[in-house]
């Protein structure tokens, strides 16, 4: 372990990674202050994290460690990966602890670490399920046992806790387990293909935090092991592709199998590239990116087309009601996009980060922070028995509770994803009121303040508070969704052509008080899907800024499944401070079809639109992230066009 104290960093510290074009900033560099992101983060801190602790406590997650430690006479409860939920919750809490070091949260984290520490075996092994419920059967089911998956989440929690509190206590536990894993698996030792990727990215980060190269090596070993079908087919999926074990990592040309696993693996591979710079890894990731954006991405940024298997489907297989779009898969996509952004410096990755966060991730948690979606379909007919009697409804917790703490850790670390730096200056990726204080390369230490009412308003104002000492480059992402962009420096419009990487680059000798204004066109937009997608054919969706919109039954008297949108009618935006904690709704016009003519049949002679009996009606669309906060009701993103 490195002897010197290190600057606090966020979940990823790529400040010294050879493969990073842009450096991550230290955790105290960016502070969100106001706006939607800060609001979501406050709810996460004040409501979601305490709620999560209660749910973990009720579900037996903490108790499992005490059972494994022999401190309790109870029995292990829950699925095999219960430990990971605790680790993700600790990771989330650790990102918040610098703000509230002496809170009840800190005490709760310390208690949890007590339990974890007690459950660790003398040889470093740590897993409450195998210790308490399957003694003697360690590492016997790498496909489904999730020991390495839980280990990975421990390592990430430990790194975050170390960074957030300065305490080495959980980090020491993690290193003992990592040493045990290193001593168990490897080319000269035992082969292993982890059934659920996660340990790869975590070992790389543990290496970054401790400087211990063995951790990097064993991560590389796990990555190299994949792709030989050792994990066999999963019952839900007739191929080892489910486990990303059909094709070696360097030969991958598509995303396949379980979406969370696929993106966790890609994240680990990106981490490995960041440290090794091995081109074959990056080439494979770029092929997978092309596959994703060309074939397998929902308009929300969600991924995973197969409800039952949580898996990628065929190209263009993107059903709405039966989407998987697991919240965890969206979180995984954020982690991967972030690394791809650091590696390539291309705005497309920050664009997808933004689309995914505001839509696929934020939708996963209720506005009050205490109810969660596992799946995030793009349509829901509102029937009580939808999707096998109890499908996508928000729940306080889940039997498989991976998603809630995953949302908690990403929301708690939002500031991490706002900005980066390189030798030439600073880059701003995500918008919203914030203070950014960082080392701007040749500019030296600078302080910027970002203001505006993003994502509701498209004007982003960046004011220089501390200017730095030289000419340096301020880069502002120009979102691909923005059909018009205006840029002003100190009120004077400048040539608004973006750099090839999709950023607005402004190079000057900055002075305190200098202000850059980015004005992104915020008119609501209609989008359509590729003609090969069955589920979007004949339909359009509404977007505004980075937000995807939907119709929800709560805003309509007519059944929303009977509504069509008239694409020729104007779309208007209205700020509704009273609604869903304040949202801009988009109003449109369309028609309500007469469904009675379909009673008792599925097919009938085709009638052209003009002959249909339908009546004109108004439609009100809300941001997709805010749906299902007014009870269970129908929702749809894609609307047939009249």
């Amino acid at each position: 372990m490195r002897a010197s104290p290190r600057r606090a960093a966020g979940p990823l510290d790529a400040s010294n990674s050879a493969g990073a074009r842009w450096r991550t900033l230290s955790a105290d560099s960016v502070r969100l202050d106001g706006g939607l992101l800060a609001r979501r983060q406050a709810v996460n801190r004040d409501a979601a994290l305490p709620h999560g602790w209660r749910m973990l406590d009720e579900a037996g997650n903490f108790e499992n460690f005490r059972v494994a430690a022999g401190r309790s006479r109870g029995s292990y409860r829950g699925p095999v990966y219960m430990d990971s939920d605790v680790y993700k919750w600790i990771e989330a809490a650790s990102f918040q602890l610098p703000e509230c070091p002496s809170s009840g949260l800190a005490a709760a984290v310390d208690e949890a670490i007590d339990d974890i520490e007690a459950a660790q075996q003398a040889d470093g092994y740590l897993n409450s399920y195998y210790t308490a419920a399957q003694p003697g059967r360690r590492w016997t089911d790498l496909a489904l046992g999730h020991e390495l998956y839980c280990a990975g989440h421990l390592f990430q929690a430990a790194v975050a806790h170390h960074r957030g509190t300065g305490s080495s206590r959980l980090l020491s536990i993690a290193c003992r387990f990592a040493d045990h894993i290193d001593a168990t698996f490897g080319p000269a030792r035992r082969p292993a293909t982890p059934g659920h990727p996660e340990v790869e990215m975590a070992l790389v980060e543990l290496y970054r935090e401790t400087g211990e190269r063995r951790y990097l090596n064993v991560a590389g070993f796990f990555i190299d092991q994949r792709g030989h079908g050792r994990l066999g087919p999963n019952p839900l999926f007739n191929s080892s592709a489910y486990f990303q074990d059909r094709v070696p990592v360097r030969e991958a040309s598509e995303f396949e199998g379980h979406a969370v696993r696929a993106l966790y693996l890609a994240t680990g591979v990106a981490d490995m590239y960041l440290e090794s710079g091995e081109q074959a890894l990056l080439d494979a990731l770029k092929r997978q990116w092309q596959d994703l954006i060309s074939h397998k991405l929902y308009v929300t940024g969600g991924i995973g087309s197969r409800h039952h298997a949580g898996a990628f489907g065929q190209p263009y297989e993107l059903p709405n009601e039966l989407a998987s779009c697991e919240t965890c898969a969206a979180v995984a996509s954020l982690m991967w996009c972030w690394r791809m952004l650091l590696i390539t410096g291309q705005a497309c990755f920050a664009d997808l980060w933004e689309r995914t966060f505001y839509n696929a991730v934020l939708a996963g948690v209720s506005l009050d922070g205490t109810r969660y979606f596992y799946l995030n379909p793009l349509a829901d007919n509102g029937a009580e028995e939808h999707l096998h009697r109890g499908g996508p409804r928000r729940k306080p917790w889940h039997a498989v509770a991976c998603c809630p703490p995953n949302v908690m850790r990403i929301v708690a670390s939002l500031a991490h994803y706002v900005a980066t730096a390189d030798a030439d200056g600073l880059q701003i990726h995500q918008f919203g009121p914030a203070r950014v204080a960082a080392d701007a390369g040749r500019g030296g230490p600078v302080v910027l303040r970002m203001a505006g009412d993003y994502p509701w308003d498209g004007r982003v104002r960046v004011t220089v508070e501390q200017a730095g000492g030289a000419v340096w480059v301020l880069s502002l992402r120009r979102p691909a969704w923005a059909e018009q962009v205006a840029v002003r420096v100190n009120g004077v419009p400048i040539d608004a052509a973006p750099a090839p990487n999709g950023y607005q680059q402004i190079e000057r000798a900055w002075r305190p008080g200098d202000a850059v204004e980015l004005e992104l066109a915020m008119a609501p937009r209609l989008v359509e899907g590729h003609p090969w997608i069955e589920s979007t054919r004949g339909c359009i969706a509404i977007e505004r800024g980075p937000l995807v919109y939907c119709l929800e039954q709560a805003d309509h008297a007519a059944p929303i499944y009977d509504l069509e949108l008239d694409p020729g009618a104007p779309l208007t935006t209205h700020w509704r401070p009273d609604l869903l904690e304040g949202v801009a709704v988009v109003c449109a016009a369309g028609y309500q079809i007469d469904r009675s003519r379909w009673a008792g049949r599925l097919y009938r002679p085709f009638e052209t639109g003009s002959a249909l009996s339908r009546r004109r009606t108004e439609l009100t669309a809300i941001p997709y992230y805010a749906w299902a906060n007014r009870g269970s009701n129908a929702m749809r993103v894609w609307l047939p066009h009249a």
Copy 2:
């Protein structure tokens, strides 16, 4: 067993069933002579049945019986239900044997019965898998062991063999096994919920053939056992609904779970109603019918929306590429529709029989009778790797080979489904050149000849050759698809109003030479799907007569996934004697879209149709049943409308 010799009957002998409004005819009553049905039947007899024997021989199905009998030292091969494939093949062959009693087919059947007889245990038990591979484990896995399923197919084969040959040999084997089952299961003995329905309908038919009421009783016992979740969830499906074990039969309100299982069960329940007349059974079946036609039916008549589980989906969940539409499910639907027709006398069931046979079943076998589909999706992008590397392509045989012999037995028994009789006369349900000689109730023995070029031409001519002795009613189905129907008797148009049951009823004192002409409008039609179906939205399909049409890549230079149909352009029909053994193609006009504008993206700003760059093109549609007879290529039934 009844002592007196009985008249040969088809697969179902409801000539004495209390619940039958219409009587089935004896097997020699109807002879197909010419036309598409007779052609398919000849191919089935001359190519498919010999091919099936070779495939069964190669796969080890016959050998399995010899292994079980101790006549061979080999090992059991294949899945647990291999016996059923042999039984279905014998059943199919038995329907053909009256035409060729001394052929090689008859010898092959006798040889197979030798093997089966030898494998039967002293106590009557008969299952080559459990006897050869799992001795001592009989009846230990009712959920997935398929012993009762195989037993059912044995009983059906035995009944067909008895009816087709007069030999009691296989029937005796069947009765010994049925006696064993009766002695094993029952209210006072062992409970049992068969994991795959089939034995129910088979036991009822065995009762009809032998008069042994115990067989009917044990069928009723199996039906009554269902619906208590004893079979638990299947790994492919998170509910006992997969096995139709979630809801008791009399409480069912929908079709759910594995589609073949669901329809085999419904068939057995209908058989039980035919014998018992218990209203609660029929009420449940009628509710399921409403669910089917309102929510879960493909336009081809295919059923089963979930590719992986072969299961029904949610209401309106009817994906095209990922349809299941297993050929066996369509065969099951035919069996069920036929019974519902006999029970109710309503044309809607014969209509669905027709739609399902011509489209969902006929598509399941190649024109030459030697290559089979397991799944029958409504679209296929033609990619080699479609649907997990090797999905819906015609194959000579399948590892799970249920479908090929199921097609064989239904095609071999087509004549059975053409006509029925009641006290008032005769009913004609399916059209095509045929001779019908039957007892027309109060009309006495009559002979009719049906002529025409159905399904290509809509004129069906029925000539009375032997008139019978009294005034009686000739009923001709008026297909629901026919937008206009003209009826002439001896050239004179008559009032063409159908009876409430959907049939044209003509009551008169018939004389030899009388001719009825039914003229069904055969113009190609455009149909649309219910607006709640994701996969048909914005699309139309072409139908003509009872046939659903599709585009196939072989007829087009442009990728057919890029074609749109102009619903305003005229549709024209052309008879192509050279194509696909002779088909009427439907030509249409539409557009080829410019897909290059979508390169590398799935979503883009909406553009109205007029602004799209697309070019006018011609489309040629072929009958769906004939697709995939010119190699693997893309196909789609539902076409976006321009």
